[in-house]
């Protein structure tokens, strides 16, 4: 069985290389609709003979777009409004051919849209809307008491809150909230209004009403495949066949299939393509029905990310500390630079890595490595500097060479505090590595990010609980190591009396 699988896989690889079909890498942003569209594109391309590597759930617009620019992915689902206003920085959303003339110098192409307009909308509870007599966004101006909780991206975007407030003269002071948590927050009565997408599958589940954009503020957000111009013509043709096939109610229904009816993205995509008669192969395909069947892989990836980054930080950070600790000036600048790296928000650091190292494992490792440096280098420098100077003087006076002093006196005396620094770095790493999912590096962040996108708390816990357990285990392992290698009276911080 196993053998047949492998043999057919090899056969497929040989076959595809013979006919010259290359592997396409397909991305998507982390939101639920983006993943679903990504899966639809992927299955359509596969149905037409392409091999598709999926890189779904990339952090945000900038992560997915940077990955496309750098060639790490060949295509991802995007919206006209986002393209025009956020990416190309245009003042309005022009027709597709004009967008494409802007994209041409970047070697990108926007293929014909799928049909539906997933514009931004303002959502609130149906019951509350009726009670207050609100149906249009302009009605909000008369209700300054309503609490707005808006997604972080919406608060920042040119075509988001700043413009909306100006157009409708809104007096509200919105809070930033993760979009995946916003509906729950409305349901729990902690906020009243949030930004929503017009085709959101959860709107029905939470009995939310979309307010009419009576001043036509929101631009059009027509969904389409944004591809690299080097994409084979056959692939472009294959994707163009999807044009105009999905209207707003259809998309909302597809989204609901995933968010409320527990279908997987792959199942929903499969069903759509079948209904459209776009799947030539008649056999029912099997999809895993289990909620999350990659936990083992995620755990392994998470361990790899954390350990490799930590190992690198030790291999580079400890010798660096030993090299510079004697010079006050140099060690200060080293600590200053490492501290500066620490202040860059993790998600921003990850995004900064993309133009340099693309997406996936490597940039995640580098970002985590940079985060580990400070605790390790700082602890090492401080612990070396705080070794009792009399002990150093005596070891020197006894005739030890610099190397012997390091080996026999300085390092053993500094070890307990150094170990604490490494432990701190390890635990920070385990937490930060959950964000690596944003740039397609996998790990326990994957179920967390997907869970947030699907409003599925269980799925979030699938990632969060193992990550927490891993952090606790790490703490224990370090404690054991300390007990094993450091004499009792040398443990703990600052107990090094001569």
């Amino acid at each position: 069985m196993m053998f047949r699988k492998i043999a057919s896989l090899i056969g497929l690889l040989v076959f595809s290389s013979l006919i010259g079909a290359q592997t396409l890498t397909l991305g998507s942003k982390m939101d639920s609709e983006g993943r679903l569209l990504g899966e639809i594109f992927a299955q359509k391309l596969e149905a037409d003979g392409f091999t598709v590597r999926r890189q779904l759930g990339l952090g945000s617009t900038s992560v997915a777009y940077q990955a496309l620019l750098s060639g790490d992915i060949d295509l991802y689902p995007e919206y006209t409004g986002t393209l025009a206003l956020s990416i190309l920085n245009l003042d309005s959303t022009p027709p597709l051919d004009q967008i494409n003339s802007h994209l041409a110098p970047l070697n990108l192409v926007a293929l014909p849209s799928l049909g539906f307009n997933n514009t931004y909308a303002m959502a609130l509870k149906q019951a509350q809307a009726e009670a207050l007599g609100i149906s249009r966004i302009s009605d909000l101006a008369e209700h300054p008491q309503l609490r707005l909780g808006l997604s972080h991206e919406f608060v920042q975007r040119n075509d988001g809150w700043p413009g909306l407030r100006e157009r409708y003269q809104l007096p509200h002071n919105p809070r930033g909230i993760e979009h995946g948590l916003a509906y729950e927050a409305i349901n729990a009565g902690r906020i009243d209004i949030t930004d929503a997408y017009a085709t959101d599958g959860d709107l029905d589940r939470f009995n939310l009403l979309l307010l009419e954009d009576d001043l036509n503020y929101f631009p059009q957000y027509l969904a389409l495949p944004l591809v690299h111009s080097s994409l084979p013509e056959a692939a472009k043709r294959s994707l163009a066949e999807l044009a105009g096939r999905i209207d707003e109610p259809r998309m909302q229904a597809l989204n609901a299939l995933v968010s409320t009816q527990q279908a997987s993205f792959a199942q929903a995509a499969d069903r759509f393509l079948r209904e459209e008669g776009l799947l030539t192969d008649a056999t029912e395909r099997e999809f895993s029905t289990r909620k999350w069947d990659r936990l083992g892989i995620n755990l392994l990836q998470h361990l790899q990310l954390t350990l490799i980054a930590l190992g690198l930080a030790c291999v580079i950070g400890l010798p660096l500390a030993i090299l510079v600790y004697k010079s006050r000036r140099i060690s200060r600048s080293v600590l200053y630079i490492a501290g500066l790296l620490q202040t860059i928000p993790s998600i921003a650091l990850l995004a900064l890595m993309i133009p340099l190292f693309g997406i996936g494992f490597l940039p995640a490792i580098i970002a985590l490595f940079l985060y580990s440096l400070l605790p390790i280098v700082r602890a090492a420098i401080t612990s070396l500097l705080t070794v009792n100077p009399l002990l150093v003087q005596v070891s020197q006076g006894m005739g030890m060479t610099r190397r012997e002093q390091l080996k026999h006196i300085l390092l053993p005396l500094a070890a307990p505090n150094m170990l604490t620094g490494i432990k701190t770095a390890a635990i920070i790493n385990i937490g930060t590595a959950t964000l690596a999912a944003f740039i397609g590096a996998g790990g326990l962040g994957e179920p967390i990010v997907t869970g947030l996108a699907l409003n599925d708390h269980t799925l979030v816990l699938y990632g969060a609980i193992p990550a927490a357990l891993m952090a606790i285990t790490t703490e224990l392992v370090f404690e054991l190591a300390e007990r094993r290698w450091i004499p009792a009276h040398m443990r703990g911080i600052g107990r090094q009396n001569p």
Partner: protein
């Protein structure tokens, strides 16, 4: 072998904003105990550190065991000198055996030679070999001082440098440690340079005394000569102030 273990020739040494020694000429006898005495700040500890290269002269020369100091290879020179300081500074992460034997192991002594030497030193110092597996924080102050001396004498160095190594214990313990030191010196006579602020200690232990005042040597002679014929009023005053 010369008759001097240490010679300072036209020695000049200062610190950032202050001259300390301006042309000192001084020779210390071989196989005898020399005490450097004087009030704090007179430069006696600096003079000691000029012997083992922890401090370097600005001008002039320091000869140790007949040779000018080779500052490119200080570890080799320092292994010919035992070194013990005030507070003893035993290494807290090593037990007594490892503290004492560290340099011998770095010199690739055989296990037998190490054990023999340590037992001989422990014998002189009235220390119980059962202590060898203990850590420094598990022994008394008096024991620690004697262990510090053992560590300094482990390699059987021709020259021993002691920087206030007998201070900071109670008077009774101190008398005890003095006695052990003298017994050791009788059995294995060597050149010792001892820094102390205690005139009594100097007079009791030393064969030769150097009385210092900031930057200058007031008198260098046997304790007897200095006690009976102080060179000037300053020396006399120092002898009285204990």
């Amino acid at each position: 072998m010369t008759e001097h273990c240490v010679e300072f020739i036209q020695l000049e040494k200062g610190f950032a904003n202050q001259r300390l020694f301006e042309g000192i000429d001084l020779a210390l006898p071989v196989n005898a105990v020399t005490a450097l005495v004087g009030a704090s700040g007179c430069g006696k500890s600096t003079l000691l550190q000029l012997i083992n290269g922890l401090a370097r002269p600005d001008a002039g020369q320091v000869k140790v065991l007949g040779e000018p100091i080779d500052y490119q290879d200080l570890p080799r020179l320092r292994r010919k000198m035992g070194y013990a300081v005030q507070g003893i500074a035993l290494f807290p992460h090593l037990n007594l055996f490892d503290n004492i034997s560290l340099m011998a192991r770095l010199e690739h002594w055989s296990q037998d030679a190490i054990t023999q030497r340590i037992h001989k030193l422990f014998n002189f110092m009235y220390l119980d070999p059962a202590l060898l597996t203990r850590y420094p924080h598990e022994i008394s102050g008096g024991q620690a001082q004697r262990v510090g001396l053992c560590r300094a004498m482990m390699l059987d160095p021709p020259l021993l440098l002691l920087d206030e190594a007998f201070s900071a214990v109670d008077p009774i313990t101190r008398v005890d440690v003095h006695a052990r030191f003298q017994a050791m010196q009788a059995a294995e006579p060597r050149s010792v340079v001892l820094v102390t602020h205690d005139m009594q200690e100097a007079a009791k232990l030393a064969d030769f005394m150097v009385v210092m005042d900031p930057g200058i040597v007031l008198q260098a002679d046997t304790p007897e000569q200095i006690m009976n014929h102080p060179a000037n009023a300053q020396v006399a005053r120092l002898l009285e102030a204990r």
